[in-house]
């Protein structure tokens, strides 16, 4: 991507700019589906979580699940968006075996949430505001299984009727990196709010990506929509690949057809699913089985009153109260659990040291073990204990790393490990003097060089002493004693 300076793609005919908008489908966290009492939880035997309403039986009627409405409003508030006190459910009509009623209940002209914004965090620590166009509630479809039988397709309706929030961004994104940051940030906000678990592997969060290209300053180009992309990495790849395809077509004198495309990560290409001409006419109209959804100010106010501190506010507080660099704050607030962990460690300790340990050693070992922070074998209190041993001089930084690895492995706390392994730092000047005498006696040539002015050798002597003491020597004390001996 070296040819993409300042977010532009260099083509044969000059620079191109990408214009990107995302429609993110987020599964609402709720016990039951949007319009039926059936369970909305993931997994289970096929068709085990299906009510007669979900299966589209004759005479069945939808009735809205209040929890799903609350979750949509909560999300809208978290996106600093306008809540529409009156919204309307429409039917989107099309035939498919995993759509039992022959229509999906969605919101078309009057969504429950209007314009809002998401602040994305860029790698250089800066932020950018991305507009939210709308958020609406809709039903998920079931799943068609085409690989279970040589001649038949099977249908699993467990997901049919599960509540989704479709969150539509404005076409404000300009690079795959921004799009990735947007999805990550949106996911983070949803998880803070508890309105979507954000699990992309289980399909709780998936994105339709709209991409077009243009010469900088030119009017918008024709866009293509890449459907159902299910990871941040794939979102970024799909955009890059699709933008380059469009540039190639345009530079060869062709034109872009507005169409729906599919990203194939194995082949590293996008390909057309259906063109505009073949596009469905969904015949949207207000669902006559459902009255307009009317919310009171009190209903919205009660939800507003229970909003948690969201990532942006938390980040600002971390910078302000802990004096953390923006980058550290961004990393630490991305997950609510991480932020809480960090705060527990930082409580009454040096905030920057705490941040370094959480983001460095802890993240490193967690990553290696494939665990998330909730499953960390080292509790915040235990990590805090370790930091305290460093602060009071019991452990050197180097020793502390070893101790931490043992803590991670055994789940024991730092003090116990120090005790067991006799890792206590040696600060006793008598013992250290002896070690220093031994080293200096062996290194007479280097001592002479030092005295001739090569003071850099102090580090070398330090290393020798540390080695001789098995790393347990207190480096501060060693340095002090060494200087005294060499210069005295």
């Amino acid at each position: 991507m070296s040819d993409r300076a300042s977010g532009l793609i260099k083509g044969e005919t000059g620079d191109w700019e990408m214009v990107i908008g995302l429609e993110v489908h987020a599964q609402v966290v709720s016990q039951a589906k949007l319009f039926s009492g059936a369970s909305a939880t993931y997994g289970g035997d096929p068709n085990a979580k299906v009510s007669l309403i979900d299966a589209g039986f004759p005479g069945m009627l939808p009735s809205i699940n209040r929890v799903c409405v609350e979750q949509a409003v909560r999300t809208g508030l978290g996106l600093r968006a306008r809540i529409n006190l009156t919204s309307v459910f429409d039917r989107k009509n099309y035939f498919y075996p995993d759509l039992p009623a022959g229509y999906q209940i969605s919101q078309y002209k009057q969504p429950i949430v209007g314009e809002g914004e998401v602040e994305i965090d860029l790698p250089d620590g800066s932020t950018r505001r991305i507009g939210i166009e709308r958020l609406h509630l809709e039903q998920d479809a079931g799943k068609s299984l085409h690989d279970q039988h040589p001649r038949f397709s099977y249908v699993d309706l467990n997901r049919a009727g599960v509540a989704l929030m479709e969150i539509v961004s404005k076409p404000d994104l300009r690079t795959p990196e921004e799009a990735g940051a947007y999805v990550r940030k949106l996911r983070s906000i949803l998880r803070y709010l508890g309105t979507c678990d954000g699990n992309m592997e289980e399909g709780s969060l998936r994105a339709d990506v709209n991409v077009s290209v243009r010469k900088p300053g030119a009017p918008l180009g024709t866009r293509c929509e890449i459907k159902n992309v299910n990871s941040v990495r794939f979102v970024m790849q799909a955009i890059e690949i699709e933008a380059r395809r469009q540039i190639r077509v345009l530079e060869e004198g062709g034109k872009i057809d507005q169409e729906t495309r599919l990203y194939d990560p194995n082949k590293g290409e996008t390909r057309a699913m259906r063109s505009k001409e073949e596009a469905h006419d969904y015949r949207y109209f207000p669902d006559p089985d459902l009255l307009p959804l009317v919310l009171s100010e009190d209903f919205v106010g009660a939800i507003r009153a229970t909003l948690p501190e969201l990532p942006d506010d938390k980040k600002a507080r971390f910078i302000r109260d802990y004096g953390l660099p923006a980058y550290d704050a961004m990393v630490l607030v991305a997950e609510k659990e991480t932020a809480a962990y960090y705060e527990a460690v930082a409580q009454g300790r040096d905030p920057k040291t705490a941040a370094n340990w959480v983001m460095g050693d802890l993240f490193g070992l967690l990553n290696k073990a494939g665990r998330d922070i909730a499953e960390s074998p080292v509790s915040p209190a235990a990590l805090g204990g370790l930091l305290d041993l460093i602060a009071d001089g019991t452990l050197s930084g180097r020793l502390a790393k070893d101790v931490f690895a043992l803590m991670f492995e055994s789940g024991k706390d730092a003090a116990a490990i120090v005790e067991d392994k006799g890792l206590k730092q040696v600060s006793d000047t008598g013992a250290l003097e002896a070690a220093i005498s031994d080293v200096l006696a062996k290194e007479t040539a280097k001592v002479a060089e030092y005295k001739a002015g090569k003071v850099k050798l102090l580090g070398y002597f330090m290393g020798q002493v540390m080695k001789a003491t098995g790393g347990k020597a207190n480096p501060g004390v060693v340095q002090e004693l060494l200087k005294k001996r060499l210069e005295g």
Partner: protein, 493 residues
């Protein structure tokens, strides 16, 4: 007792309670009458075993003084109401073998009130029709015939089987649904009372949908009081139907006894349509006089958008139907013509499963909702609908109820209009307005045509004011003293 099927519902209630008759006897009498009336084709499914079991329980409760309001009363249910374990077809090939594992809210309430199911009645396919001729199971015959003729007449539609069953005394009460007149027009054609309550008064849960914003359950009975008793039992809020109204259900039966003294009755001038037979016009005028004689004042009112009602209805109803009927795709239940290609399977299953009129309405509705036509048809029709509702609001600011003919003709012959959909749709001209506005309407038999066929008058009331509708309906009934009944020509000797 001469013939137990001659009892009215209220009379039967009393006879059962004083144990002059048992539920067993009452039900057997009706089951026999049903057997004898096979030629009328009123029923798609007869349920004698079911009926006998319910009768047994009714007798047990009657014996213990635990009678519920409809204990032991034989009822016929339009085959559009889902009944658990009893086939429910909507008179369509596509649901011919469908047996729901659930019960509609309306029928749940009826059985909880002690009612006895004698059978599921025939109807126009998916309630789309005004003559019962679109039924995949053949038309229902009207028990009434023209004087000196044995021409087969329609009982009207879509609830033709229920209406005919009441007229032929095969049940003491019946349910219907009314989307554009499907209770009131058959009631008028069969000399029975039929009421469509306010939209939202009864739950639609478990009723196979035709046009959701217009469909409403209602009842047929032989007189106004019986209808009032039945309607009360099926009314009330149901959390499973978001469009049902959470408001108290008044004692409709008590209302029928309150008279019309001091009421103001509107006579809408726009309902004098060209081509309407003089005898219907005359009956309408007579109806107004009857009400005045009982102390009401009749005044002319204007419902200026009436002429747009029928076109608006025939956009909105098919539009909703085109979507409501999408679920009949041969995938999960109902008729499937197996094909290796999905689209082929859809097309063949639906072509084989739906009759001509249903297909016509799906096409019309799909067209009306299509991109580029939505505004011109569906949206426009919704605006007309709002204007029609406003017409009624303005009229009801001045009057308590509105009196109109129910239908522009008496029952017509089978086949007479089936080739001309527009002529058929015109049957609904006086009734669709009530559905578009969501207001209650009753049809009461008020006289006979020159040919000896029953004619009905319709009373429309304010939303959720069924009480007034019943009061005025009862006043018409009392004055008309309609006691004609069809000769029982259908009885096989």
């Amino acid at each position: 007792m001469s013939d137990l099927t001659d009892l009215t519902l209220v009379e039967a209630q009393a006879a059962l309670r004083r144990r002059a008759v048992s539920a067993h006897e009452l039900v057997e009498a009706h089951l026999r009458a049903i057997q004898d009336a096979n030629v009328l084709n009123c029923f798609i499914t007869e349920t004698p075993l079911h009926a006998r079991n319910q009768a047994k329980e009714a007798d047990r409760r009657l014996a213990h003084g635990e009678a519920r309001p409809l204990e032991g009363i034989p009822l016929a249910i339009k085959d559009l109401f889902c009944t658990k374990g009893v086939g429910t077809t909507a008179a369509s090939e596509i649901l011919r073998d469908f047996t729901p594992p659930y019960e509609s809210t309306v029928t749940t309430r009826l059985w909880a009130a002690g009612g006895v199911l004698v059978g599921k009645t025939n109807l126009d396919e998916f309630a789309m029709g005004s003559s019962n001729e679109t039924s995949a199971l053949g038309p229902v015959l009207n028990p009434w015939r023209r004087q000196g003729s044995d021409a087969r007449l329609t009982p009207g539609g879509s609830s033709g089987g229920s209406a005919a069953a009441i007229a032929a005394r095969l049940a003491l009460g019946a349910t219907g649904t009314d989307t554009g007149g499907s209770i009131r027009q058959p009631a008028a054609f069969t000399g029975t009372v039929g009421i469509k309550p306010t939209y939202g008064r009864c739950s639609r849960f478990g009723i196979i949908a035709f046009a959701s914003s217009l469909d409403q359950a209602g009842v047929f009975a032989r007189n106004v009081e019986d209808a009032a008793v039945l309607l009360r039992e099926i009314s009330g809020f149901d959390p499973a139907d978001s469009t049902s109204a959470d408001r108290p259900v008044p004692d409709f039966q008590a209302a029928t006894k309150r008279g019309v003294k001091g009421m103001r009755i509107g006579i809408p001038k726009e309902y004098r349509v060209p081509g309407m037979p003089g005898e219907i016009d005359a009956l309408w005028t007579q109806g107004a006089k009857w009400l005045e004689a009982q102390g009401a004042t009749c005044v002319e009112v204007s419902l200026p958008h009436t002429k747009y009602a029928l076109p608006a209805y025939y956009v909105i109803a098919p539009a909703e139907a085109s979507s409501n009927l999408a679920r009949y795709d041969g995938v999960r239940y109902g008729l499937r013509i197996p094909e290796t290609d999905l689209i082929d399977q859809y097309e063949k299953s639906r072509a084989a499963g739906f009759g001509k009129e249903v297909r016509r309405r799906i096409m019309i509705g799909t067209y009306a909702l299509s991109a580029g036509y939505y505004d011109a048809y569906y949206l426009k029709a919704q605006k007309v609908r709002a204007l029609i509702a406003r017409d009624f609001d303005l009229a009801f600011a001045k009057v308590d109820a509105i009196l109109t003919p129910t239908a522009p003709s008496a029952a017509f012959g089978l086949g007479e209009k089936s080739a001309d959909p527009i002529a058929m749709y015109l049957n609904d001209v006086f009734t669709v307005t009530g559905n578009l506005a969501g207001i209650p309407g009753i049809s009461v038999p008020a006289g006979l045509s020159a040919e000896g066929l029953p004619l009905g008058l319709q009373v429309l009331g304010k939303a959720f004011d069924e009480e007034t509708v019943f009061r005025v309906g009862r006043a018409i009934e009392e004055a008309a003293a309609f006691n004609s009944r069809p000769a029982a020509w259908w009885r096989t000797p």
